[in-house]
């Protein structure tokens, strides 16, 4: 697939993203906007999963630290989006230049992504030197660092107190528009030289390094891009929630994204989108179950928090019986150039990137 170039490779994942968006539009229409909140949150989760997949899928390294990018994105977007009139109330000791800034949604999200990717660049420069397992743990350290700084930097984050006053403008268009853009970015990277090198290092580090792929660089750039995507997701999350605190972005947030990515299929973008959809529906069903669902004359009610346990069990069973996730390594690949070849292979096919043979050593 690599030979056909990264632009062509973008078509498949983009079609899946379009399909997901279409699904969201249909569901929204069918329920006449009654579950709009859920759909918006689903779109944001899909962005976060795509961000996570861009790193973990290409490098084979599990990251617990992506919530940190989400937090950075959310706080950046919050600081930039709070109306200037409200700033003296919410953030009285904000440094001068920030207290006069109020950016539009587009610029807020872009800067949120860029700041998160800058954090990824700095942290990744150190973390990506470690072995796979060591790097996973170091990302957890990064999360602790970011959480600690956010809850102490009172002047710009209000510390552990709730950060509020962000205008609620995470509309359907912005969320799913961003989803399509980040899917395009992620697919572009996957089929570009960067993505190919990082998967080469993932699959066989020695052979890849002997062929000139640099280990640190091959992991760092996917980390930076996934930091950007997750930062944008965090920005949208801030604009959806409007109030949050540093504890909104800790380990409990990791669970959802991780489970969605693994269940869907870690090594493909289509898998990330499928996983986000399936788990969102499952969690919604479980949440209704916690509230109680009438079945005939009985009300079936599950104890609070059941979704956490179910996700845990689903995760273990999935890894046991289908470790590559629902889609496996399959990625929707569409090659328009084959259209001109009579009797050529089918134009639309499910290509596959082999999953990691063995974990990074």
């Amino acid at each position: 697939m690599g030979r056909q170039g990264s632009l062509v490779g973008m078509i498949g994942p983009l079609m899946v993203a379009a399909l997901v968006t279409l699904l969201a539009v249909v569901v929204q229409g069918a329920t006449s906007g009654a579950i709009n909140d859920i759909i918006i949150l689903f779109g944001i989760n899909a962005i976060l999963v795509v961000g996570f997949q861009s790193f973990a899928g290409n490098t084979g390294i599990m990251s617990f630290g992506h919530v940190a990018f989400m937090a950075v994105g959310a706080y950046t977007a919050g600081i930039l989006a709070i109306p200037v009139t409200l700033k003296p109330i919410v953030l009285p000791s904000l440094p001068g230049f920030l207290s006069h800034v109020e950016l539009s949604t587009f610029w807020t999200l872009l800067v949120a992504g860029l700041v998160a990717s800058a954090v990824a660049l700095v942290a990744g420069f150190a973390i990506m030197r470690l072995s796979g397992t060591g790097a996973s743990i170091a990302t957890l350290g990064m999360l602790v660092i970011v959480n600690n700084v956010l809850s102490q930097a009172h002047a710009i984050t209000r510390g552990p107190q709730s950060f509020f006053g962000v205008p609620q403008d995470a509309s359907f268009g912005w969320v799913f528009g961003s989803l399509i853009v980040v899917v395009a970015l992620s697919a572009w990277m996957k089929w570009s030289g960067i993505g190919l090198r990082s998967r080469a290092v993932r699959d066989d580090m020695m052979a890849a390094e002997a062929s000139g792929a640099k280990r640190v660089a091959s992991r760092l750039w996917p980390f930076v891009l996934s930091g950007f995507i997750t930062g944008v997701g965090g920005g949208l999350y801030a604009k959806d929630l409007t109030a949050f605190s540093p504890d909104s972005f800790f380990i409990s947030q990791v669970v959802g994204v991780l489970v969605m990515a693994i269940i869907g299929g870690l090594s493909s973008i289509s898998g990330a989108l499928v996983g986000a959809t399936v788990i969102s529906v499952l969690v919604e069903i479980l949440r209704n179950l916690e509230a109680g669902i009438p079945v005939g004359s009985l009300v079936v009610q599950a104890p609070a928090g059941i979704s956490q346990a179910v996700l845990g069990v689903v995760l273990i069973l999935m890894l046991r019986w289908r470790p590559a996730g629902i889609t496996g390594p399959l990625e929707l690949e569409i090659d328009p150039r084959r259209w001109r070849v009579p009797g050529g292979r089918s134009r639309i096919q499910l290509g596959s990137t082999p999953p990691p043979r063995s974990g990074p050593k």
Binding site: L130, I137, L140
Partner: protein, 293 residues
């Protein structure tokens, strides 16, 4: 001078707890490449059980015995049910599996004990502070250091001086060859999970006796500290775990005594940044990563 000794005692106490935690984790990693995210939940379950037993007026020695036995059972059970099917899987798969196990164990703890803080009431004679001249050392600190030394000594003897230890080390170093020599991997697995559980039980009691209160969600702090300690020391070997634990404890006490008041809130961040800095210089950890227990 007195202050320096005081700090040293603090550092030893914190560091030896981390060393214990890291040991329990690194043993399992050495044998099956599993970084066990559910490890902290073993500590929490043990401490929750201790709260229950102490509230029922059961004497302390019996509580310790009961809790550690329970931790061993829990650890072996999770190892056998959840992790054994993944014996040959990639480390990433194992790590995610343990994440799932953590979710399930935590939910079970919430169902059993509720989701609110419980106080681990240790008897007052353990809560005293010893005065040696102007030196003030809490008894809990001494007990922590003493227990850790004993546990580490026992583990060293078991691993280095018994045939059982040789079997464990052989499995860690070359699983295939060990198997050819007639060492049964599943038996080693049970033993290693049992040792890891015993250590988790002891560490859990020490940890939460010092902290004082816990909820079913308190597992994260010990898990993170143990994770960082093993990476700092060097993944997969027992010396690395001990060195990493002591170094992390030392670093924490050093930072909290050196930092100006304004920066004290950032202690965690500064400690973790320094750890990443150390790893930048020595990517394999202080001892160097190798699966030689």
């Amino acid at each position: 001078m007195i202050l320096a000794i005081q700090r040293l005692a603090d550092a030893l106490s914190v560091g030896s707890t981390y060393a214990l935690l890291a040991l329990g984790l690194t043993l399992v990693y050495g044998v099956m490449n599993l970084i066990n995210f559910a490890y902290g939940m073993m500590l929490v379950w043990t401490a929750l059980l201790a709260v229950l037993l102490i509230d029922h007026g059961i004497p302390i020695p019996l509580v310790v015995f009961g809790c550690v036995s329970f931790a061993i059972l829990l650890s072996v059970a999770t190892g056998w049910i959840a992790f054994r099917p993944f014996l040959t899987a990639a480390p990433v798969t194992l790590l995610i599996t343990s994440f799932g196990v953590e979710l399930v164990l935590q939910y079970a703890a919430i169902l059993a004990f509720g989701n609110y803080p419980l106080v681990l009431q240790i008897p007052s004679y353990l809560n005293e502070v010893l005065h040696l001249g102007s030196l003030r050392i809490p008894k809990v600190e001494l007990i922590t250091i003493g227990t850790s030394v004993i546990v580490i000594g026992c583990l060293w003897y078991l691993l280095q001086r018994t045939s059982f230890g040789i079997e464990i080390r052989a499995t860690a170093e070359k699983p295939e060859v060990a198997r050819l020599m007639g060492i049964r991997p599943s038996r080693i697995l049970v033993v290693v999970f049992a040792i890891s559980g015993a250590i988790a039980g002891i560490a859990g009691l020490l940890w939460f006796a010092k902290v004082g209160a816990l909820t079913a969600r308190s597992d994260l702090d010990p898990t993170i500290k143990a994770f960082v300690a093993i990476v700092l020391g060097g993944l997969g070997n027992t010396r690395g775990a001990v060195v990493g634990g002591l170094a992390l404890g030392g670093l924490e006490v050093l930072m909290s005594s050196l930092l100006p008041d304004a920066a004290l809130g950032y202690t965690d961040a500064i400690v973790f940044v320094s750890v990443i800095g150390i790893l930048l210089l020595r990517p394999g950890g202080l001892i160097g990563a190798s699966t030689r227990l």
